[in-house]
Symmetry: C3
Subunit: 109 residues, 3 copies
């Protein structure tokens, strides 16, 4: 038995919970906020058997949207500013952060 | 040291927390929602020594109400519908889902 | 990889999250309430490498305020009430309760 803790974006939570439910995973949803970015996110707890972990991870991976964001790079300090042309770069934000925790014992009362 | 994570029904949380407090268990309450049924539930985190786990589980078990719910069974497909008398059945819902997690170390600052 | 779960006071959460962010720790904040005292508290989840746990604990320790509270002691039952002078005592409240959990595997999608 494992306890999967997945921190995902709010906007992904509905379709992820639906997709997990379709495969009979039981999820519990915690309201959370990102500490650093203060962005709304959601934490899911998913209890499952060891052999069901990989499928759960695959579902989480496929339902957690990445988005690309253009950011302006910092211009190099002390460089030749005239010859430096700042070029916006793409970074990936979002996605999911997932911890798989060992479980000593599990009960359903 | 163990960390007990118990997902219970909202309506059981008050008397369960009281019962745990009576036995000196420290609980932390998280607001959660069931992913599938969207029902209001509550998650408790209870940190305790290994030898105190059984008593905590017993309290959770006795304070987590089950309720019986009548549901109409699906009629059998392709059977002789005339001779089939659907009989409502009782299923148990509610209760508690409990994970006991190992703890590497514990601090109180 | 470890998952640190820290239950702290609401009023400490902002400066603790800031201090953790300054050192590149990623935190996720859960809204929680103390079960027994019903006081507002906050639970932080912090995922980090094994060798980063001690520094995280040190930050939590230094940013979790204790406060001293004067309480009147209960007068001794059956004692000589005339000669008993109740003296308010200081107790420490607040601080942080911290669990360090082992992690089987960790993913960032
Ligand atoms: Ni896939
Ligand atoms: Ni019993
Ligand atoms: Ni120090």
């Amino acid at each position: 038995m494992k306890l999967i803790i997945a921190v995902i974006q709010d906007k992904d939570s509905h379709r992820l919970i639906d997709a997990l439910s379709d495969k009979e995973y039981k999820t519990t949803k915690l309201s959370t906020t990102g500490g650093f970015l203060k962005e709304g996110n959601t934490t899911l707890m998913i209890g499952c058997e060891d052999e069901e972990v990989d499928q759960a991870l695959d579902i989480i991976k496929h339902k957690s949207s990445h988005r690309e964001q253009m950011v302006a790079p910092i211009s190099p300090m002390g460089g030749n500013a005239d010859s430096y042309i700042p070029r916006p770069i793409n970074i990936e934000v979002g996605g999911a952060t997932v911890f798989v925790l060992p479980v000593d014992s599990f009960f359903q009362f």
